[in-house]
Subunit: 330 residues, 4 copies
């Protein structure tokens, strides 16, 4: 249940309501909300005088539900405002590997008229014997691209030991598929106001995925985007299975902008362009595509990154599809 | 291994080759092929004089492989030729329920300028206590629509007890997701020359899916289409998970036309239009969409069928996307 | 809803009830039942005089539900009666390959004091280029083992083109994982009184699995056994994933004897013995284990079959576990 | 590749080897190892003089592989030594809820002659509106049980913000299914010498699961146990699917003790006893079972916890099965 309190109610009264309902106090704009477990369907009459409006909910998808807020959230990422008719196209390599390669990427982005760069500095590898990313050095290189080229930076936090550092450098903090249950990260992001892009875990139900967003939203940060990047199924010819049925669900029932990542889903460059066009036709708020100046030498995800030439052709082919669904690519 | 025999080789010589290689003899056009288990990588020199060409294969995806035949198969379905730049849009209700409703459907199809009707007469329900279809009576109603409106008929065979009957009435025989391992059906279809549309089982790997096509192809019928309709995963918000990564694989590695069925994947009408547009942008050879004059009274799949009005809007929105990927809808 | 009719009600009255309720008429022993879709929760009062008892059901798991019949069904298979404290241990090769090898198997079984032999004559291979089984010749060899050694024969039907033939030769008809949705097979088995062992499809929910049994039960055959043999998951180190949680469900909610097949689940001989002991400790009605005189030359499933020596050791180790759960192995 | 260096080699020489091979330096007992990516199959001859032994590996399962160390690791947990013929039976509630209930649990454990208590103080809930655990207060209550009753304490770390705190209070640190990719936790645990029990993520392959152990092992902590607790599949009648085929794999290929958790897999108390007996018959090193004085009032996992009476009966029934597989329960 979401309870919007009347204006000018004292903190202690709100705390008493929250304590009684086992609820969380959330401040948005100039309003105060108490969000309780969704199992609660009514509040004791003694609190009537402090309640402005309330929404009874079916599940713990609450602040992200269209029942609470029917329009998609408008979230500003540099020159792009998601939640309307703009689609954010964010590209870049899997990981920052050197200044030279990240600058080549930045130039491609600027040359294409796009506005954000994405790359990882902390790589959540499953093996301790693989490249683990450049760490803070990588973040600094990304920040330099922002200064030099005016690009917004999307980069990933791997665990809660460095979440403050990433929050300082990034314009959009990405919480990766393996980190999206991490309370340490989710709570730190909830205390920020920066846009948070949460990737769906590959073994994560849609219910759990949106509930991860609820951790950030109920922490006080209204700027959350959801990213579908493929789930793990029995099929092994592709790396993961991109769940567009799930995207249809997210668009229907949640008020969060939806981003799609066909690169990680497919795992092979050959399928990425077809999938990216399909994603655009799904009428979503963003696309995330891995692009590398020379994928054959990439230190991670070598098989799935597009080279600049292939990306260029894909980009041209996305434009008429964007137009067909009433969107512009930013 | 696929072995193409020279012209004018006697049947007994070919049989001896086939017996030695544990291969299957396949007649296509005026050529004779022997297809052996893919584990075989070379043939004894004694057979050199009867072999024209041969293809060594990695797996039992052989006659359907682009290694054997690099172009997509051209298969004629009434006014549509799949495998080129036409996309077959075939619509209709889950099951034939009465003459009146199937005629309403036929009129919608004709009015839209489309060319095929699809509906089931034998329903492969998982419960014995659900509607099982009209049987031969349903086939007769579909045949009447063909006579009256010039439509091609796509309909499903449930098990091998009635496969001959369906082969007689249908223009395209659909083998459903639950029947696609059925040797009785696959072999009967292999002895026909009618187009066979095989739906992927919801628990079926792409390897097994294409191998089902190999049963039909090696039986002597070159006209097989593959239909992805969603696989079963841990996610339950949608009925199944449409596997577009798998479609990218099928397009890259097989020479069979690919059809997509977003209706069964989603299981709910609300997501079908977005998904159908995504499928069109995947640049595939066909779309199969469930449409019913009044879904609320449908005897099966009530939740996922579009009404005629919603379909009309979807159809208009598909056209610019088809144009963007260089296709016309037939 | 299951409706048990009073004695001495005319057929036409029962048919009228069945027609009104869209129900199926089922004869068991000397009773007549009408089984309706489970959505029906009450019957019109006009039928009161012909109804003896009725059971309202939550889902189409009806005749197999413990709500209808609380005890596990007693089903006789040669010397074994399942459903009590006997556990049927049925072993044999994946497929009948020759008289010599099947006789070696028969001798092992007799020497171990066991009572049934299992082997396939019609193999439901996923590739048309693999060994497809010996067909009727294989059935004859199995029948010879019955005559010579007094063994009961468990063998598989692949599709409905040969279901009558298998029903004639077999003591227990196995419906394989790929055939369990086949209405042609299920209905033919429903018209027999022979025990039918249904294997769960690897992409099949428990609900659908039990509903397949309902097809046979509602056809008039009360002798159905369920066999769990592994489901398809994202894990590829084993061939399938044996679902013992599902077995716990089947034991709790259904009245059908449960058989376990660790060989197909694991796919590798090394894990079969540990798993077989676990299965025995699950306190189930039967175990099905693949054993071959020389697995290295087997024409199918070579990797997972145990040799006779390994089976002997396993058999000894099963006995104390059977004793611990109050069972004897037959 | 694992390289064991000779004794008395200088640190700088070892660092040069590690740098050249992109390897990690690991100290075990009085030996120094360099573990490189498994893709490396040979080392330059210049290093011959500092290499004692080396193991070439197929995958990044290295320190945990039976190829490196063929015996199961002996790990001491209070009175129990895993890796031999003792099976650790660790029980307790999902979460610590109060001193009274945790003391009731402690008394049950002592009364049963068992040696460890398990309960969570930091609960990794998927909803922000659910009970999140007692935090440090819960850890203190567990520590009190250790002092008072001589029990070893198994408790869970949720994220890396409190990993040091948990390392101080616990005898065994449990890394939960949702946290097992967390580099912050894995690395902190690698710097400790305490036993670390890693639970398999529900969407995690066996390869990734064992690689999580490699993070801890290569950090310098040789004391890692693996816990299978069910994976997420399409089946929804149980909460998860316990993967005993996967356990067979872990036992065959890794040198880590294996623990099984039937409670989380099943999700319902009714199946836990049957499953626990099956797990014991799998001949594993430990069982983890959720037990609560009154499950009906539990603040989390209410459906799956056993009450004390049911646990008592289960415990008695486990003993003869343990005996059958040559084990004693500790």
């Amino acid at each position: 249940m979401i309870i919007q309190c009347r204006k000018n109610i004292s903190e202690s009264q709100i705390d008493r309501l929250a304590a009684t309902c086992e609820g969380v106090v959330v401040n948005y704009d100039s309003n105060v909300f108490v969000v309780t477990p969704s199992a609660l369907k009514a509040v004791d009459a003694q609190f009537d005088s402090i309640i402005d409006t309330s929404w009874v909910m079916d599940s713990d998808i609450q602040l992200s539900s269209r029942k609470f807020k029917s329009d998609t959230r408008k979230i500003n990422i540099g020159k792009c405002t998601t939640g309307g008719n703009q689609t954010l196209l964010t590209i870049g390599p899997c990981g920052v590997e050197s200044e030279e390669m990240i600058e080549q990427t930045a130039k491609l982005i600027v040359g294409s008229g796009l506005s954000t760069i994405r790359a990882g500095a902390f790589k959540p590898r499953t093996s301790p014997y693989s490249f683990q990313g450049m760490g803070e050095e990588g973040l600094k290189l990304l920040a330099r691209m922002r200064e030099k080229y005016g690009l917004s930076v999307v980069t990933e936090v791997r665990d809660s030991t460095h979440v403050q550092m990433v929050l300082e450098y990034a314009d959009v903090v990405q919480i990766g598929a393996k980190a999206m249950y991490d309370h340490g990260i989710l709570r730190a992001c909830g205390r920020s106001q920066k846009p948070i892009l949460i990737k769906r875990g590959f073994g994560t139900t849609l219910q759990e995925f949106v509930q991860a967003a609820e951790f950030v939203l109920s922490g006080g940060n209204p700027n959350v985007l959801l990213c579908e990047r493929g789930i793990r199924t029995f099929e092994t010819k592709s790396r993961f299975t991109l769940d567009l049925c799930g995207v249809a669900y997210l668009k229907e029932y949640t008020n969060l902008p939806v981003i799609l990542d066909p690169s990680h889903a497919m795992g092979y460059a050959y399928g990425v362009s077809d999938l990216a066009r399909a994603c655009m036709a799904m009428n979503v708020d963003g696309l995330l595509i891995e692009v590398h100046p020379d994928p054959s030498v990439a230190k991670s995800d070598a098989a799935q990154q597009l080279n600049h030439d292939t990306f260029g052709k894909l980009f041209e082919s996305l434009k008429p599809i964007a137009a067909a669904v009433g969107r512009t690519i930013v």
